[in-house]
Symmetry: D3
Subunit: 130 residues, 6 copies
């Protein structure tokens, strides 16, 4: 595993991101993902800015729906860390066990039909091309 950069050992550049994470999320806790990214400060900064824009800034999708989409991708990719952290995030935003069940059922079904469409080499219907 990667070295995790703690706040006390961090450069000013890294601390500025950590401070913004803490202020934005209103918690002192910095999770391991950010401490690992701090090994390459430009990636830490850019990734956090992207997450803020995509997951936190106002938009048409509510925060819980965004987390459900995030879970769908992470489960499809089999990323253990991301499944664990975004399942936790979704729960904190109100996801019930039933909603998680419905999301995973859709993810499972989509992974099935993705392969059936590939395996049968289904031509795209004209009406879906536009």
């Amino acid at each position: 595993m990667s070295h995790l950069v703690e706040y006390d050992d961090a450069s000013d550049e890294v601390r500025a991101v950590y401070d913004d994470i803490r202020a934005t999320r209103q918690t002192d806790y910095i999770n391991n993902f950010w401490k690992a990214l701090a090994n390459h400060p430009p990636t830490l900064r850019r990734t956090w800015e992207t997450i803020k824009e995509v997951m936190i800034a106002p938009g048409e999708l509510d925060p819980l729906t965004r987390e459900l989409i995030y879970i769908a991708v992470s489960v499809t990719n089999g990323c253990e860390y991301c499944i664990a952290s975004h399942t936790a995030a979704a729960r904190s935003k109100g996801m019930s066990e039933t909603v998680l069940g419905e999301v995973l059922a859709i993810v499972a079904t989509a992974n099935t039909t993705n392969r059936l469409a590939n395996g049968y080499r289904v031509p795209v219907d004209e009406q879906f091309k536009t």
Copy 2:
């Protein structure tokens, strides 16, 4: 590409599924995916029943949110047919260009952080394990 089974050439078993698709969706159009699956009638029946349960039956998630999750999986897997058909389905359920943009932005971001978590081999935080 696979042979596509048209209604007039279909067995009674396949026609029963086609009839149910038409009745459920209130359209005469059967898209190519189902016509390809009809080459193996048990797969046609089972896949349609699953789709009905997961995507159409009442649940906590509304129909549009389900389609957005479906798109997220299909884009991550790179399934051209599924992206085309479910983007069309989502549009018919009211997805705007902005919502599509927000969904794809989340999908793109999740694919990025999935790899950063893997690449830095980030250990799962204790609080995410439960």
Copy 3:
């Protein structure tokens, strides 16, 4: 797309592989995959040798079963060329439409349960660890 190296334009090194493909498969036809790999002769030679060992040389698995496994991987990866060529190869070795249907049903199901196992973060049972 890549340049396809035809026999008449090929180096001796490439021709030797083409000749062996023809002799082994008892056909004059060289499919596009090999003509593309001929852009890097060491890859052409190594890949053909591997295919001969893994797919053609005597072993415990019969030739059709090997093709079915090949299809399963190619469908999961969504490789259009490989699905097309190995579906054709399997048909030439006797795969019926029903067997293809059964294979794709297993591939579809495995892709579903792979995601459910990930999504629910199911711990491996002790008895499966050995």
Copy 4:
């Protein structure tokens, strides 16, 4: 990890599936996958019914071949739980170490050629299109 639903704590709906798993497999052991799926009973029921149809009901493919195809998909997706459980299932159906070796060699080779076909952007031969 997910909460695992034990038989004694399960609803009648879940117990009915567990009972069917036990009767079908002629063992008392319910593996963790099903105990995790029991968090969303419709997914538990539907997934078990699918597995019964696809993996256990009579068909043209024998039970061991089905497991080998399952392993091929699970290895390609990198699903640790599924690799572990289906390798165990295949062994119980008679898979030798040599057969596992041959299967993994095909899976490895197919993953190689899938990428070479993509990387060289090989056009599908006309004869493979039908």
Copy 5:
């Protein structure tokens, strides 16, 4: 396919990005990827800024090596557009047919060993854990 936003029909926000792409790359040509992303201007802006930082700004890796890594990912994911565009970009930065062959050979080999490591469930050596 998505609507492609041409310069003449673009908003000021989109034009600013297009102008920067043109200035940075010293060409008038805007490729389709950016014209599609322009359907969601924040994604266009953020993706271009990221590409500039990661692929163009000075760093320890030279521009051609960066393109080779990009190709490796795109081939592994089977993204046709990205393979085509980054193969072209790498050629314009001096990639020979032989170097492409070497890159694809490594990509093919890594995809093979990734599956063998998964399939044999190889435990990580202690010395690789730090």
Copy 6:
């Protein structure tokens, strides 16, 4: 996990490969990957020969660049063993923390744009088709 074949318990065929690994790498250490592959000696031999040709034999790409490409694939596939072993190999060939950061930033970015290209169904530009 698989049984790991130690040198003292290995057949002559396996020992010959182990001896070549030791001689080529100038170390006595045989890592677990090879000990697992030794369960199927033809796979052990073929995989090692491929690795020698692709990763060690002289070519236009230097040894460190090859490892960086290997890491890019392994991170994209989420293969824990391969990420760990090739990160170690790259470090031993001189990879700094900054270079790892730059590689992972490219991998992350490519995974993002791969999905945006798919999700927006971007048509390949004519000039990228040749």
